[in-house]
Amino acid sequence: MVELAEIAEKVRSKNAGPFWLTIDIFCGNRAAFERISTGLDSARVAALFHLDPDQLKRFDIAELNVVKFSLPRPAVQGTRADRDMHGAAWAVLLEELEIG
């Protein structure tokens, strides 16, 4: 088991408008893409963000060696409950996730 950050080149999260969050995992090469694409279970990602799995959109883009997730923002941007205006810190949750 290793943390995703040890395999991926970069993990980035960002607002996709005030109501959506998008997370891009740049795997860096084909081997890392294959390992992350097969080893990263969508249900675990959904659980990390306290979401129903069907609220999570996933794109495995082999041409770019990228796995991308989009989800309703854990808190709508700028509301009282929001702690991260640009959605930048949520990537860390995925970076620290251990995969097989």
Binding site: K14, F19, L48, E63, R80, R83
Partner: protein, 452 residues
């Protein structure tokens, strides 16, 4: 062929003036720059103000007005002043008038207003002309009427109408990121899929290249696609940097919804022309019903914040229990002294260094040597939020974990201890409005300014 010069991803960010000069020298047909985004939150729209400094905006706009005069083409800015509300369109117009006088330019300036009357939008909602996008919050006509600003996102049709006034400079309110770049290529008959796709690649300036900080790029649009060329000395566009930009801030990397249709880049092909330029073909534009997206912000209370620092090891270890006790004491005082009910206001004590960033999603970590306690009081009025902040203060200053111990004192970095943040704004629209004709929700004003 239509050549669009894009000086930077947003006016107010730094960009490379030498790259801009190269762009002017290579004969653009138009200079297009973005001025805003929702990315910094709802307060800019709620207040109708710019995020960027007036001095920086003026310095950068000055150089673009000079570049426009030298190139002899139109200059267009989309989403002026961060949020594109009518008040910031006028703010940039004032800056433009000042600069025209200072530079000795006589220019024709068209303002494209995107601001909406909340009462009219409430009527459109009641009439069924407004529908929610995925993850849209629930709304009613009262919510809509409570918005301090509502803007509609203009597409290419409205920008084309502004350009058709013969303006030297177009100051547009809220537009989609792509509209200002795609407008002229589409008006001149370039490939629709290519025009929209190239506009999306160009909307953040040099972000789709190897050197994002250089800012400036140019895009050539034609009958079959587009070519991206960075203008920074060391910046390169590669098939990877260009195609990967479709991921950026997009919930779907293949489909982009725009007024009047959808861009589909599933079949796009990216080819390196040389070490710096990339050619793209194969993107498709699928026309659809004419809708424009709405953005609205309203006041969701007022906030006062305070910061206390815990450095004592015992208090760092017991920080959670300490903040719970402080909040409970303050709540009892608020109920007894201010008569506010439990649901009328909130007190939050966030532990900076523990879980202030991720809250309940934090997965844990080692205990730090100090913890910042960020106290946030949110109440219906500014005065109430200030009162709650002051009620919290004695506890934040001296609250002891146990009854029998010398009274502790904690570190405060500021006096006064409380900071009134003013209104808390929230976005309350993630909806589209159906229009019979594109200009129905927008208006144009043209003036001659300055002197030659």
């Amino acid at each position: 062929m239509t050549r669009v010069l894009i000086p930077t991803g947003a006016l107010g960010l730094v960009y490379d003036r030498a790259a801009l000069a190269r762009g002017v020298a290579s004969g653009p047909d138009i200079i297009a720059v973005d001025g805003g985004s929702t990315d910094s939150g709802p307060a800019y729209l709620g207040r109708g103000v710019s995020k960027y400094s007036r001095a920086t905006t003026k310095a950068e706009w000055r150089d673009l007005m000079l570049a426009r005069a030298e190139a002899g083409v139109q200059l267009v800015i989309g989403t002026a002043g961060t949020c594109g509300a009518d008040s910031v369109v006028d703010w940039l117009y004032e800056i433009t008038c000042e600069l025209a006088r200072e530079l000795g330019q006589k220019v024709r300036v068209t303002r494209l207003y995107s601001g909406q009357n909340p009462q009219k939008i409430a009527e459109d909602f009641a009439a069924g002309r407004i529908s929610g996008l995925p993850a849209a919050p629930g709304i009613d006509t009262d919510t809509i009427r409570a918005c301090t600003n509502i803007v509609a996102l203009a597409g290419v049709e409205q920008v084309q109408a502004a350009l058709a006034t013969g303006a030297d400079i177009v100051i547009a309110g809220r537009t989609t990121d792509t509209a200002i770049i795609a407008a002229l290529p589409l008006a001149q008959g370039c490939h629709p899929g290519g025009a929209w796709h190239g506009a999306k690649i160009g909307e953040c300036g040099a972000l789709a290249t190897t050197n994002p900080a250089s800012g400036t790029i140019q895009i050539d649009f034609d009958e079959t696609g587009f070519t991206v060329e960075p203008l920074g000395a060391i910046a390169r566009a590669t098939p990877y940097t260009v195609s990967a930009h479709m991921l950026y801030e997009n919930s779907d990397p293949f489909l982009l919804h725009e007024p009047g249709g959808i861009l589909d880049v599933t079949g796009a092909r990216y080819e390196a022309l040389d070490g710096r330029r990339v050619r793209v073909e194969g993107s498709v534009w699928r026309p659809g019903p004419y809708t424009v997206k709405l953005e609205g912000a309203r006041i969701a209370g007022y906030q006062t914040v305070s910061l206390t620092l815990l450095r004592d090891r015992r208090y760092v270890a017991e920080a959670r229990a300490w903040t719970e006790q402080v909040a409970a004491r303050a709540r009892a005082d608020v109920a007894a002294r201010m008569g506010l009910g439990d649901t009328d206001y909130t007190i939050e004590l966030r532990l900076i260094g523990v879980d202030a960033t991720l809250g309940r999603m934090e997965t844990g970590g080692a205990l730090p040597s100090e913890i910042g306690v960020l106290a946030i009081a949110t109440a219906p009025t500014e005065a109430q939020a200030g009162e709650i902040g002051k009620i919290l203060n004695p506890y934040l200053l001296h609250h002891a974990l146990t009854e029998e111990e010398p009274m502790p004192t904690f570190a405060f970095p500021f006096s006064p201890a409380e900071m009134n943040r003013g209104a808390l704004y929230e976005f309350c629209l993630h909806h589209v409005l159906t229009l019979d004709a594109p200009m129905d929700a927008f208006r144009l004003v043209t003036d001659e300014v300055g002197h030659g």
